[in-house]
């Protein structure tokens, strides 16, 4: 008799068309979040505060209640949801444009207040949905449609290191940066995401995971080359690791 060894997480909808580009890591990241919600048994008690950018359509794919926030305000809306319904598990799923750029104030202040929510932020070094412009995480030297000769310091300054910044906030319970470039790293990523939800469930404070991801379309690369870029160019600058974990030892 056949044994099923692989299936769609319950949190994911099986009957919808996924809108992420081929090879984009968003698909993997959403799946990891879904697996974590499955494993923690919190699918029916969770509310998503959805962001603007490529991440916006996430609410179409997952079986949780969702509120679409204006650009940059996903954390603020998550805070509102959580303060109204402290019994719910509340999370955001945002890009770096949403969290690190227009919504940085909300992210930092939620972390400082120790809001019991979880924020997941995709870092792909560009504004993906609008066609690959320079964002707050664009690497020095990186060519984008608004940095045609590469990110230079004179005009653009430096990219932000989110996981480190969020870890500095006293209300943060967990802050990590992970990568999806390889199977071992994907496994680590899932553990970090799980931890970021667990600290919320335990009421310990703000949980944050920055996920290094590919954007093959705007990077104009094949998926495997894009993963190589994550390894060779992004990870030396955005070093994966756990920057804060109040549950450690």
């Amino acid at each position: 008799m056949a044994t099923q060894v692989f299936s769609l997480p319950k949190t994911l909808k099986g009957d919808v068309k996924y809108s992420f580009c081929p090879g984009c890591d968003h698909g993997v990241a959403v799946r990891l979040v879904a697996e974590v919600l499955d494993e923690l048994g919190i699918i029916d008690n969770t509310i998503l505060s959805a962001a603007i950018g490529c991440s916006v359509t996430t609410y179409d794919f997952i079986n949780v209640d969702a509120l679409e926030a204006p650009h940059g305000r996903a954390v603020a809306e998550a805070v509102g949801i959580k303060r109204a319904r402290p019994d719910k598990i509340v999370f955001t799923y945002q890009g770096d444009g949403d969290f690190a750029s227009i919504g940085l104030a909300e992210g930092i202040h939620a972390a400082l207040r120790g809001e019991k929510i979880t924020a997941i932020c995709i870092n792909n070094t560009t504004y993906g949905m609008t066609g690959g412009q320079l964002g707050p995480t664009t690497l020095v030297g990186q060519v984008t449609t608004t940095s045609p000769t590469g990110r230079n310091l004179e005009y653009y300054g430096y990219p932000i290191k989110l996981a480190e910044h969020i870890a500095l906030c006293d209300g943060t319970a967990f802050s990590a940066r992970v990568s999806l470039d390889s199977v071992p790293n994907i496994k680590k990523a899932k553990q970090a995401i799980k931890k970021a939800f667990e600290v919320q469930m335990k009421g310990l404070g703000f949980g944050f995971v920055e996920i290094l991801s590919t954007c093959p379309t705007n990077w104009k690369m094949s998926p495997d080359k894009a993963h190589a870029r994550v390894r060779d160019e992004m990870m030396p600058v955005f070093k994966p690791g756990i920057y804060k974990d109040v549950t450690a030892e």
Partner: protein, 353 residues
């Protein structure tokens, strides 16, 4: 005032009256950022909401507070934020989203001088901001304008009710004068029925399929249908909820139109004009949206002239002109910012019109 008082007349500021009424209305969450002349609202609620174990956040900005209130509203609870003029400007994006998302909550807007940073004195310069909005797209906010501290209580209750009933943000449009002024008021139990939000509120998928509260609709046809439905709702609001006060209008040659705190001096001016033998009437829109256009149009058949009195450079006068639609002249008596013109001043300015 730190106590939550009921069943007894108390002397209190408009700001405290609003805050206390919000608590009594069952407001479960308040989010705000300080700005004169409405900071007492957040000050009062910071203590009270914590004492009652309700939601309170001293938000990092008005951008954050309007979005926090939207988040809370999405779960079906009564929620509120408050601010003033230049900072209400920061909330316009959120208000557009909230109308599109059909999120019910109350925004208390205590007007001060503008444009820009302006000043902290009373003003009615945000009539257009409240009734037209600075956000994108087609939407309407329900707007209620109190003229006394007692009405700050009455209309706070009503604002919560209408927002819940119609799933639409509702603005309580007060001003620095009402916010800072003390008058005796009576608090009483929330007089409206509670609205069941369980058919749409976000609560987790234990008893329903996953819900999405969203304004993004990639298909133009879907969007058209949504807008038609939204504006059908606004039509219902216009039919059912338009509210105004009128005195001595039936035989009036000249009808003075004014809203909010300014209307108090205007009412006295009308009485003084009557004493002088001038047939003056008084008309006060209480709901600024929906605006009592129909009634003004009726009155334009018998009145010879309308005069709007406003503390701004002339904003509501446009709505009166639209309502009257050329049937008779509509004049403006105004003052840019500050305490409303005195009754005597209004009378003498009307006499030279």
């Amino acid at each position: 005032m730190v106590e939550c008082l009921t069943d007894k007349k108390v002397l209190t500021k408009g700001n405290y009256a609003i805050a206390n009424a919000a608590v009594l209305a069952g407001c479960q969450c308040y989010f705000g950022y300080p700005i004169t002349p409405q900071s007492e609202i957040g000050e009062f609620l910071s203590g009270k909401m914590q004492e009652l174990k309700r939601g309170y956040v001293s938000a990092e900005s008005e951008l954050a507070s309007i979005n926090m209130v939207m988040g809370a509203a999405s779960t079906g609870v009564k929620a509120m934020t408050s601010s003033s003029s230049c900072a209400v400007s920061l909330m316009q994006e959120g208000l557009s989203y909230a109308c599109a998302d059909e999120l019910p909550f109350v925004l208390v807007s205590v007007m001060r001088g503008g444009p820009g940073l302006g000043n902290i004195y009373p003003s009615q310069g945000d009539y257009i901001q409240a009734t037209r909005g600075g956000g994108n797209g087609d939407y309407k906010l329900i707007v209620l304008a109190p003229s006394t501290v007692q009405e700050c209580v009455d209309l706070t209750y009503k604002a919560f009710y209408l927002s819940q009933k119609y799933r639409n943000p509702t603005v309580l449009l007060a001003d620095g004068l009402l916010g800072q002024m003390m008058e005796p008021v009576e608090f009483y139990d929330y007089p409206y029925p509670e609205i069941d939000n369980s058919s749409w509120a976000l609560s987790g998928t234990k008893d329903h399929k996953a819900r999405i509260i969203r304004s993004y609709g990639p298909l133009a046809d879907d969007r058209c249908r949504f807008l038609e439905k939204l504006f059908q709702k606004y039509k219902t609001i216009e039919e059912n909820e338009t509210e105004w006060e009128e005195i001595n209008t039936e035989d009036a040659d000249i009808i003075l139109v004014s809203f909010g705190s300014t209307s108090r001096n205007v009412k006295t001016a009308m009485k003084k004009l009557r004493e002088k033998g001038i047939k003056a009437g008084f008309f006060r829109p209480i709901t600024l949206y929906p605006f009592p256009s129909k009634r003004l149009a009726e009155l334009s058949k018998t009145a010879k002239k309308f005069v709007t009195v406003e503390v701004n450079m002339g904003q509501m006068v446009d709505d009166v002109r639209l309502a009257v639609n050329g049937a008779c002249p509509v004049e403006l008596i105004n003052k840019g910012v500050g305490i409303p013109p005195s009754a005597e001043e209004i009378v003498s300015r009307i006499e030279v019109l």
